[in-house]
């Protein structure tokens, strides 16, 4: 039995102490999915590049991006980096997605600094002189942001060619065959805008995109194809998601830093939500206009084996009666600091709140 007076912590650590079913946020969970204590980051292998595994890149493009990101966030004495996290696969998928296509970017012309008649300037019949784009010859200000006439995917397509062209000019070799010092020199030249093979986009703009995407691929949820085995989060001791109805409420006021006991991704949360079953409605506060029942937030009712009988609605049915999440704790004033838990004692304790039935 949990201490009745102690605010119930339904973070994973405490949840794991419960015998039998594990309850996080009141939802019954199979713990297998997120016990990862025995994981050893040093055993991680660099991802292999297979042409058939790519959605957007050619194999040559993928090898180049793989090599570049390996220098931006390298594998070194501080642990695995982009090669093990699969950053190249993350970028490959992003470029094949809405973001890569610039679907939610404003891509209508005219583009400043881009004269649509210019490509024909050398032709025998020049374009109509009265095509007037008043600011086609005006360079956009840096403060006006991205004004390149290309989506992120196109920016990669063009820029990777420019990088290879530059490496051939400077070293007579592909980037992927340069030694790490030479590769770093190329990246430094990109970052400082000194790669003269670029057209339409500046080398530093491409570098910023590549750097940002590298960090995204290191640390975004693994469902996006990078951060394999949550390696980025392990490097940082970042726990990942706190759970579909996770909480740090009982531990945020503790001094110091405590590393997470385990790491958790959205796939784990999805499993957790799936356990609600097809009829499970989750409505933690849900704008319930007070027609009784429960209430709020904390109340993810039902702990594993009792009470709600598998109806894992997080809010209870709101059909009147029953305890609610708030009445378990508001009566004792400041002592419990308004924690959400109103323990029902009988249920094994780790559920987050009182029952609504």
């Amino acid at each position: 039995m949990p201490d009745q007076d102690k605010p119930i912590d339904f973070t994973r650590r405490d949840a794991m102490k419960v015998g039998g079913g594990v309850v996080a946020g009141g939802l019954a969970i199979d713990p297998e999915g997120w016990f990862t204590d025995d994981f050893d980051v040093d055993q991680m292998q660099e991802v292999e590049l297979e042409p058939e595994g790519l959605q957007y890149f050619t194999i040559e493009q993928a090898e180049l991006v793989h090599a570049m990101t390996a220098r931006i966030y390298p594998s070194d004495e501080n642990g695995p980096g982009a090669p093990e996290a699969g950053v190249v696969y993350f970028i490959d998928r992003q470029l094949n997605d809405a973001w890569g296509r610039g679907d939610r970017w404003y891509m209508q012309g005219p583009f400043a600094g881009v004269d649509p008649t210019a490509p024909f300037a050398g032709d025998a019949e020049p374009a109509e002189p009265d095509v007037e784009i008043s600011f086609a010859n005006q360079e956009p200000s840096a403060t006006q942001g991205w004004q390149y006439p290309m989506s992120p995917a196109e920016a990669y397509d063009y820029s990777l060619d420019y990088v290879e062209e530059y490496c051939q000019n400077e070293f007579g070799s592909s980037f992927v065959d340069l030694d790490p010092g030479q590769q770093d020199a190329v990246l430094e030249a990109l970052e400082s805008g000194e790669v003269d093979t670029f057209r339409g986009i500046t080398p530093d703009a491409f570098f910023l995109l590549l750097r940002q995407n590298t960090l995204e691929g290191m640390f975004a949820d693994p469902m996006y194809g990078g951060n394999r085995e949550m390696v980025g989060w392990r490097l940082k001791n970042f726990p990942g998601t706190p759970g579909a109805l996770g909480s740090y409420r009982q531990i945020i006021d503790e001094e110091g830093y405590s590393a997470p006991d385990e790491f958790r991704s959205i796939a784990d949360d999805v499993d957790q939500v799936a356990d609600l079953g097809p009829s499970g409605s989750v409505d933690p506060a849900g704008g319930n206009v007070s027609d009784g029942g429960n209430a709020s937030g904390g109340n993810a009712s039902g702990s594993g084996d009792n009470a709600t009988g598998g109806d894992a609605t997080a809010s209870g049915s709101g059909d009147g009666g029953g305890g609610n999440a708030s009445d378990g704790n508001t009566s004792d004033g400041g002592g419990s600091d308004g924690n959400v838990a109103g323990d029902d004692g009988s249920s094994g304790g780790a559920n987050s709140a009182g029952h609504s039935h």
Binding site: W105, S141, L215, A244, G287, S296, S326
Partner: protein, 587 residues
């Protein structure tokens, strides 16, 4: 052809905090209300798998689709404005609940000084203290007049905080500079975590007056003034740009909208993008709105007895301009009103401290913060200073998420092994404080329609012309060094401070979605778009609450004041629907 719909009493253009509040108040009063929202619906359940930094924070799941509509931007009238093609400095939202879904929840009242800023500045420092091109205006309403509406908003939303001034009595805790409040906050403040305690101790040592910032992340469970039950914040660290799966961040979808819908008088229409207010200039009235059903392309005309323009700031102004309501502002002469006094927020004064200790910084909440107001408003003497106003100074523990949080000192590279080593080392031991600087209005910072670029329907985009002024630079130079001192007092082993504001306003890095002005309130129709009831001088049945009504932007987050103005507007609309006349005489 547009399809004509049956008339209703009230239409709201947009369904966020302002549209939700107006919708609830008017439907409760028995009026038939239609809420038109260009985006779709979201619910608390949608956020059970919300802990996705990439999707929400960096791919902007809850934000407006810029391919359909954006703004254009330039720093000054000599430049050509170009489209904001991708997100940067600010993030207008979309969908039911608006920014009220993905906000942080920092919920302030502006200072009494703010509402009478021109009069009080002249009174204390003389007329010459206001530069000629600074269009400082009183708001046409005082703090005391607005106080009941603040109170209503706070008790509806369940704001957690600590009163600093109860009925004129300064309290031990709380903000001693705040205007008198009739009663305490409905909920106690958020938890004072170790980093926040450090800030409180340091600022206290330095003679300042620290307090816990007011929060719409609820410190405890709460049943609000409408009987709605809200959850308690779990400090999960996924707040700003995310929705809350606990129902513990107050939002329109949790509070006012369910109440409105329960009246039976409120109809929500999603994917309904208003493209024009139908204006009868001779009658000084709007007859209704024209909107496009984004799912079918069908155009509708919805007549209404009264219209509330409750979109985001930028769209409020744009729709006025597209509909020909009010005289567009002219930056050369300073004449005209629509688009005037566009302001923003100045976060450039900041200090970052690298500590030997580690903190649990991945935990947090959007409005989990400790503050001082000693450098805000006119809370300090400006006699020998070359700027007006100031900013709230805060340490906010909003949750350090791993993609964007890679703190390294200024001398570190931005990539490679050393970057990796140092960002990992600093990961749990870096704290930042910043001043939320007020931005005051200048003649050539304004909004109008762009001559070149158009939205998905071919209508002109809104054009923003904005740059920092000496006022902004001087503010940063004064407050920045104070922040550096505070961070040293907090015990950082290394402090790096931003104590100057160089260059022009840059739309690339995220700064703040606190755009304000353009349809400002006031007592003189030649100087303002709306009166103190947010009623449009040029269309008596049109009400325009929102931050578009701010004559200047204060040193706080805007939503508390936006909420108060929305209640004020809702009251005005009810009076108008009874009396059918202007509620305030112009002066």
């Amino acid at each position: 052809m547009a399809q004509q719909l049956d008339p209703v009493d009230v239409v709201t253009v947009g369904v966020g905090w302002t549209g939700g509040i107006v919708g609830k108040e008017l439907s409760e009063a028995g009026y038939q209300v239609v809420g038109l929202e260009r985006g779709g619906e979201v619910s608390t359940e949608d956020f059970l798998t919300v802990h996705d930094e990439l999707g929400y924070a960096l791919r902007y799941k809850l934000m407006q689709d810029l391919s359909k509509e954006t703004i254009t931007f330039r720093n000054n009238v000599d430049q050509t404005a170009l489209p904001m093609r991708r997100y940067g400095a600010f993030l207008p939202g979309t969908g039911v609940g608006g920014a009220g879904v993905h906000w942080n929840g920092q919920t302030w009242r502006f200072l009494p000084y703010d509402f009478q800023i021109r009069s009080l500045t002249r009174e204390r420092y003389g007329a010459e203290a206001i530069p000629e091109n600074m269009q400082l205006q009183d708001w046409g309403i005082t703090y005391e007049e607005l106080e009941p509406y603040y109170d209503t908003f706070e008790y509806m939303a369940g704001i957690s905080g600590e009163a600093g001034n109860l009925e004129g009595e300064t309290q031990d805790a709380g903000n001693p500079y705040e205007g008198a409040r009739a009663r305490d906050y409905p909920l106690p403040p958020m938890q004072t975590t170790p980093p926040l305690q450090r800030f409180m101790d340091a600022t206290s040592n330095l003679g300042y007056n620290p307090f816990m910032a007011p929060s719409a992340n609820l410190s405890e469970e709460y049943t609000n003034s409408d009987g709605v039950e809200l959850g308690a914040c779990q400090y999960c660290g996924f707040c700003e740009r995310f929705g809350c799966e606990w129902g513990a961040k107050s939002s329109p979808i949790l509070t006012v909208l369910p109440v409105a819908q329960q009246t039976g008088n409120y109809e929500l229409r999603t994917h309904s993008n208003v493209v024009e207010l139908m204006y009868d200039e001779n009658a000084s009235r709007v007859t209704g709105v024209r909107y496009v059903d984004e799912q079918t392309g069908q155009v509708y005309e919805q007549p209404a007895r009264s219209v509330a323009l409750t979109a985001y700031v930028l769209n409020n102004v744009r729709l006025l301009l597209l509909s020909g309501i009010g005289e567009p502002y002219d930056p050369e002469t300073g004449e005209g009103v629509v688009g005037k006094n566009y302001c923003y927020q100045n976060f450039q004064a900041s200090a970052t401290g690298y500590f030997d200790e580690q903190f649990k910084l991945y935990m947090g909440a959007g409005a989990l913060g400790a503050s001082i107001d000693d450098y805000n408003g006119d809370n300090f003497d400006h006699s020998n200073l070359d700027f007006l106003h100031g900013g709230n100074v805060a340490l906010n523990q909003t949750g350090d998420r791993p993609i964007v949080n890679n703190p390294v000192q200024e001398d570190a590279p931005s990539w490679g092994s050393e970057f990796k080593a140092r960002s990992l080392e600093n990961n749990h031991s870096t704290l930042s404080i910043a001043a939320q600087g007020a931005v005051l209005p200048f003649q050539r910072n304004y909004l109008d329609l762009d001559p070149t670029y158009t939205d998905q329907y071919g209508n002109p985009l809104l054009r923003m012309t904005f740059d920092w002024r000496e006022q902004d630079r001087n503010l940063v130079e004064h407050i920045g060094p104070q922040l550096e001192e505070i961070m040293r007092e907090m015990g950082a082993s290394t402090v790096e401070a931003s104590t100057s504001l160089e260059g022009s306003f840059d739309i690339v890095p995220y700064q703040s979605t606190h755009n304000t002005g353009g349809a400002i309130m006031g007592s003189d129709p030649s100087q303002s778009v709306v009166n103190s009831y947010l009623q449009c001088w040029d269309a008596e049945n049109l009400f325009i609450p929102g931050a578009s009504a701010f004559p200047h932007n204060s040193g706080y987050n805007p939503t508390g004041t936006v909420g108060a103005l929305a209640y004020r507007a809702a009251e005005g609309m009810q009076r108008y629907l009874g009396d059918q006349q202007m509620l305030v005489s112009p002066v």
